[in-house]
């Protein structure tokens, strides 16, 4: 089989993995080929608008397992292929030299057994690092069930490791991925987390101690294949951030790959809006000091499709506003809809030189479309006097207009009881207006 065909099959098999970031590794190069920058770098954007940063491929799409949601499962009748280590290393180097990519994202189906597969993956990375002196970014996905020694070896070669959780609950895992157990996922995660910790300590003591997965570990969950609600997914994510020091949790909207009574029908649209809300909430947890319990609760366990999580929090906590931009702490500034870390930083610097009014905020680049309803400024010391309806109308997420109604009805029954059910409307605009009215009544 020629390389062109292999590349097609093996990138197709890997494309549903959401992770493609190259961030977190800071390793300036000064010899060999390549460097890794802390900030990460997008090299291209595919037609679906996703960032391409790494050559994301499978080593092989052969697999002895039969996870029901996966196109590479053993029972699926598709063409199989495998890269030779030399081939894949050369391809990575040639793509890297042309600045197509920041590095390699390597994962694989399972051939023979987990350890055998891991050894072959390690062989590829060894060629890259040793023979080609490659210093670019490598993200490797560990194989569930592989032995700890091999995971350690892989971590010495890769910048980032990931163990995919795939399904956000044990029950779903048992049903859809019978070969994988919660234990088989959490044990390597624990091992990697501990490895990261001790590698950091050793490197603190001895500068030349080996670096183990310098960019930390990540995981991915498939959203919408199984019935977990948003709150349980978000809680699981924050548990992983806290207890396993994960750098990133990725969410991947399920795209039906097979007809199965346990899975959504083949014509189901991927829950993109829901995935988007999860990323927004995840961002609030990592960058804005929000906790999962502030964003969702047992009573409202799913996201409001019309409002992003931060706006949703704001309208439910109107008592915390308005916030005085000339006095508030960074934490409080970050609670204002429309103000992120960059705006907050600029506000804090600029107000040292004089009190800020609306014109000054605009000049330093703060976007006021949403923020204006929540702030006290020099020229408006008593804050805005507005009714809830006006505020809500300004906060409705325009993204909701771009997705179709079907999207909205994908939200399970237990959506916020205050929200009208989307089926009752003929257009999103009408639905949005109804949401404004019913939410403002309940505030």
């Amino acid at each position: 089989m020629d390389l062109m065909t292999k590349l097609k099959i093996l990138s197709n098999g890997a494309k549903y993995d959401a992770a493609c970031t190259s961030s977190g590794a800071d390793r300036p190069g000064n010899r060999g080929l390549g460097s890794a920058l802390a900030a990460g770098c997008c090299h291209a954007f595919s037609a679906d608008g996703r960032c391409i940063s790494l050559l994301k491929v499978l080593m092989t799409n052969q697999c002895i397992y039969d996870c029901k949601y996966c196109i590479n499962r053993s029972s699926n009748d598709i063409q199989r292929a495998a890269f030779t280590p030399e081939e894949l290393a050369e391809l990575t180097i040639q793509f890297y030299r042309r600045n197509y990519i920041e590095g390699l994202f390597l994962s694989s189906g399972i051939i023979k057994n987990p350890d055998y597969t891991m050894e072959k993956m390690i062989a590829i990375l060894e060629i890259l690092r040793r023979k080609y002196d490659f210093y670019g970014y490598v993200h490797a996905k560990t194989i569930p069930g592989a032995s700890p020694e091999l995971i350690y070896k892989l971590g010495l070669l890769a910048d980032r490791l990931s163990v995919n959780i795939e399904l956000p609950s044990e029950r779903s895992l048992n049903q859809l991925a019978p070969h994988k157990t919660k234990q088989a996922i959490l044990t390597p995660m624990r091992q990697i987390a501990d490895g990261l910790c001790s590698s950091k300590e050793e490197r603190f003591l001895y500068k030349h101690a080996p670096r183990f997965a310098g960019a930390g570990q990540a995981t991915q969950m498939i959203i919408g294949a199984t019935p977990e609600n948003d709150f349980s997914i978000l809680r699981l994510a924050s548990f992983l951030y806290e207890k396993y020091q994960l750098r990133r949790v990725f969410y991947s909207a399920y795209i039906p790959a097979v007809e199965d009574s346990l899975l959504p029908a083949l014509n189901t649209k991927p829950p993109l809006l829901r995935e988007h809300r999860l990323y927004q909430a995840d961002w609030l947890i990592r960058q804005y000091d929000f906790s999962a319990d502030e964003i969702l609760s047992e009573e409202t366990p799913n996201f409001n499709p019309y409002l992003d999580p931060k706006c949703n929090w704001a309208i439910n906590n109107m008592g915390r506003f308005p916030i005085d931009v000339n006095k508030a702490s960074r934490e409080d500034l970050l609670r204002i809809p429309g103000i992120g870390p960059i705006s907050a930083k600029r506000i804090i610097i600029a107000r040292k030189a004089g009190k800020l009014g609306i014109a000054e905020l605009k000049r330093i680049g703060v976007v006021l479309k949403r923020a204006q309803y929540f702030i006290i400024t020099r020229d408006n010391p008593s804050g805005p006097h507005l009714n809830n309806e006006t505020v809500l109308r300004a906060l409705i997420d325009p993204k909701v207009y771009r997705t179709d109604m079907e999207q909205l009805s994908l939200f399970p029954e237990e959506t916020d009881p205050r929200l009208p059910s989307p089926q009752d409307f003929t257009s999103v605009t009408q639905a949005a207006e109804e949401v404004v009215l019913s939410l403002s009544r309940s505030l």
Binding site: M4, L7, G29, D48, P270
Partner: protein, 242 residues
Amino acid sequence: MYDGSIAGFYCCVFESVYSRQIPCDIFVSHQAPYTLLPQKLITTDSQKAARVYRSIPLKISQQALRLVEVVFLSCMKQKELALLRFLLLAYRCNAKIMQMLAHPLVAPLLAAERHIRNESHLLRGFIRFADYDGILAASITPKNFVLPLIANHFITRFSDEDFLIFDKTHHAALTYQNRKKNFISVKEIEFSPASENENYYQALWKQFYNTVAIEARDNPKCRMTQVPKRYWENMTEMKDLL
């Protein structure tokens, strides 16, 4: 009028400070318009330039010097005049100027700085090299003169390679050969036709690019915001879509 170099610009600053005059505009000599207004040619004097250069970190701050140097590379309209007025103000406010983000003389410079930094960031990813007999070469058409800002990134990335980046907009190139970097000014660079091997890797890249897009998530609008169309002409995988 001055010669377009940063040293030349510093001499304009020198002139303005010591003559206590503020010009109504500053031009690069060969781009100066015909006008009835009195003009003055400022010749570049390395000693005067050095005095101004040293005065900035001393009287203002290191951060301000960085800002001036970066904005000088930007495509901001009348940047020389804006920078001069900024410096005159900064000599009075000293280091505090860098807190005055909202001041009408400071805010536009910060916006211009964001613009050029953002463009250099995008180009670090979007530049496409082709291999010509072992030398990597790329063309770019940026709005800002980003070459000095991206040079070190590519030098650390390709420390053992020889490469060249040609900026068609500003008729300049960055060359890196035998571990030495050089900025040269050139009108045009003729690239020889790509080798078979080069075409093969370009085809492989396009194959990968087209395969990774998930059809069920198709979103060309989002791609357009992420990669504005003006970058497409120099990108292997996007060229064909134009």
